[in-house]
């Protein structure tokens, strides 16, 4: 809690990121209040510009854009968070085992990880979702994204564990009779938690970008509102050429704001956690001028 207060007070980036994030997270309670079903169409007059009754106007499908946007942001957040959490869980597990046990286990796991890192993800993702066209629920997308995004973080966590293993407290723990499992989970994991937290955010940003990419190509189930499918339908009905800016504008703006907010949080957090940059902040760094 104290950390949070300090960050809010001294780091402007954290403050901005925090405020936007809180605003964005409001969509979860708001979505429960919606008068419409998320997938309902033709419930309001079409293509009305923003007014008091419809704060963000309505679209060609007869949806109230404000409520549609709330559902869309909620679903995209679910996809992003679920995929980021899942992939980091796999990564943590794999990284800890591979780094701590070492030997043949490490070599096999590392080869798999390294192979996944160089696999081109977008074409594979496109291929997978093409094959399951239209049947991908938001959970399905989150699962696939998670599976494709654990390799890099796993490699990073592994190198962290490698250096932790050489520290004295590992020996102490071992000599006092702790099992491998508890050394890893009770002694090493706490050191990794901060890195993982900052990393979850970058996983979220990636997953969100991929969701938008896939939806824009029409490869997800298009009736479920997400930021990506909103842009897809706006493009489908030529919103730009017809000048319906209130349809294409909101998802784009919200996507940019969310991503920047999360990114600011992650940068600010990881800088706060990195002892090297902490030294830089209190200016003990030699001047190169």
């Amino acid at each position: 809690m104290e950390v949070l207060r300090d960050l809010l007070r001294y780091d402007r980036r954290f403050l901005i990121g925090f405020i936007i994030t809180v605003l964005v997270l409001l969509v979860f309670p708001l979505s429960l209040l919606s008068p419409y079903e998320p997938t309902a169409r033709r419930v309001v007059p079409t293509n009305l510009p923003p007014s008091w009754e419809y704060p963000l106007g309505t679209n060609a499908l007869g949806q109230d854009i404000a409520w549609n946007l709330i559902f869309a942001v909620r679903n995209t957040l679910i996809i992003g968070l679920l995929s980021a959490l899942l992939s980091r869980m796999i990564a943590t597990f794999n990284g800890l085992i591979s780094g701590y046990i070492g030997g043949v286990t490490d070599r096999v796991l590392s080869t798999i990880t390294d192979s996944l890192i160089v696999l081109p993800r977008l074409p594979i993702l496109v291929f997978l979702s093409f094959v399951m066209r239209g049947q991908l629920s938001i959970w399905g997308i989150a699962l696939i994204l998670a599976f494709l995004d654990w390799a890099w973080p796993s490699k990073r966590y592994r190198s962290q564990v490698l250096s932790l293993r050489e520290r004295e407290f590992t020996e102490t723990a071992l000599f006092s009779g702790m099992s491998t499992f508890s050394v890893v989970t009770r002694e090493h994991l706490p050191f990794l938690v901060p890195y993982i937290m900052a990393d979850v955010i970058s996983g979220f940003i990636w997953a969100m970008g991929m969701e938008i990419t896939l939806s824009v190509l029409g490869l997800t189930s298009l009736s479920i509102p997400t930021i990506g499918t909103m842009i897809y339908w706006a493009n489908y009905y030529q919103a730009i050429l017809r000048g319906i800016w209130w349809w294409i504008g909101p998802p784009v703006v919200v996507a940019i704001a969310t991503v920047i907010a999360f990114y600011l949080l992650s940068v600010s957090l990881s800088e706060f956690l990195d002892p090297r940059t902490r030294l830089q902040r209190i200016k003990v760094r030699p001047e190169m001028g």
Binding site: T111, D114, S115, V118, L119, P120, L122, P123, I124, V126, F127, L128, F130, V131, M132, R133, Q135, I205, M208, G209, I212, T213, V216, L217, G218, L219, I231, I240, V252, A255, I256, V259, I260, F262, Y263, L264, V267, R276, T277, L279, Q280, R285, P286, E287, M288, G289
Partner: protein, 334 residues
């Protein structure tokens, strides 16, 4: 000899594993699909006119053979590899008898031209600006620059590209909306053709440069600011080594190693094309071909592109790994 055994052979094995996994995935996934490509094609043909049942059956047999769906799964898999090794990706299903490889080769020059240029430009710009910002990290200019990059680089690429199109091709039409060159121009070494290619390529290249430069910039800045604080730089300064020498010979050389890996992976991914870039800017490269393949349900074409991009990126990684001992003396002696 030691280097060969400890370093080169494991890398070669990894290269083979990656390609094996990629190709196997490309083989398995369509077979798990609920869509049957043969039935799909038959349905499409049935639209053009009534067919006799015998004709349909013989057509089905021909198609199964063409798509490599004959025999047990294992036999199919072996046949699949045999064809791949001879560079035969089968016929395209949407542009029927044209071989997939021919479609890919037609689009490849556009993609290579666009992506190689923009990747290298972004890499060089990112490193130069990143180094300067890392060295003079207290200056106002570098702080403004960093904030700017931090707000731009996480934006999903599609949204960035869309915004650029809206701004510079639609609202302020300085650049053409679509295509690789003006319609009707034949590829030649004339000024009209080249200038048209440059004009059409600028906006897509620009969008790619902005996005990828951000990452190079941030990582280079982080690398440099750690290096600036490290002992050897302090010693060099105490020993009165000129600042220029420290900057160019020590800082850039040391930070180039991890960046070289990124460049190699970036160049390796050229074969996958820039799907979104080419779709948004209607650029006639591999990404556009892949997009068409998606919409037409052209399995063979999709598979060909995916396999090519797996091979491309794996080979890029392999080459840089093999060059690494030349760049980094530490790997040689380890």
């Amino acid at each position: 000899m030691h280097l060969l055994k400890r370093y080169i052979i494991p890398r070669l094995i990894q290269w083979l594993v990656v390609i094996f996994v990629g190709v196997t995935v490309a083989f398995i996934v369509p077979r798990l699909s609920p869509l049957d490509p043969v039935q799909n094609t038959l349905n499409r043909m049935a639209v053009y006119g009534l067919m006799y049942p015998e004709a349909v059956e013989s057509l089905r047999a021909t198609l199964e053979e063409l798509y490599g769906l004959k025999g047990t799964v294992f036999e199919q898999y072996i046949a699949f590899w045999k064809r791949l090794l001879t560079g035969d990706f089968g016929p395209s299903l949407s542009v029927f008898p044209t071989p997939v490889i021919q479609l890919i080769l037609q689009a490849l020059p556009w993609t290579i031209g666009l992506l190689v240029t923009s990747t290298i430009t972004a890499w060089i710009l990112g490193i130069v600006i990143g180094t300067l910002a890392g060295v003079y990290s207290e200056s106002r200019f570098s702080k403004v620059l960093e904030t700017l990059v931090m707000c731009i680089s996480p934006i999903p690429y599609y949204i960035m590209a869309l915004t650029l199109v809206l701004l510079f091709a639609y609202l302020i039409p300085i650049f053409p909306l679509a295509g690789g060159a003006a319609i009707g121009l034949r590829p030649s070494f004339s000024w009209t053709f080249i200038s048209s290619v440059l004009k059409h390529g600028f906006l897509p290249a620009f969008s790619l440069v902005i996005i990828s430069m951000g990452w190079y910039f941030l990582s280079q800045k982080a690398l440099t600011s750690t290096l600036v604080a490290s002992d050897f730089v302090t010693y060099a300064r105490i020993a009165a080594v000129p600042r220029r020498t420290i900057l160019y010979r020590y800082l850039i050389r040391n930070s180039l190693l991890p960046q070289a890996t990124d460049l190699a992976l970036g160049l390796g991914s050229v074969f996958g094309g820039a799907l979104i870039t080419e779709v948004v800017f209607s650029y006639p490269g591999i990404g556009q071909v892949l997009n068409t393949a998606i919409f037409q349900g052209d399995f063979n074409l999709m598979m060909g592109i995916i396999i090519l991009s797996v091979v491309g990126i794996a080979t890029g990684a392999l080459i840089i790994d093999l060059l690494y001992p030349l760049l980094d003396p530490r790997v040689r002696y380890h």
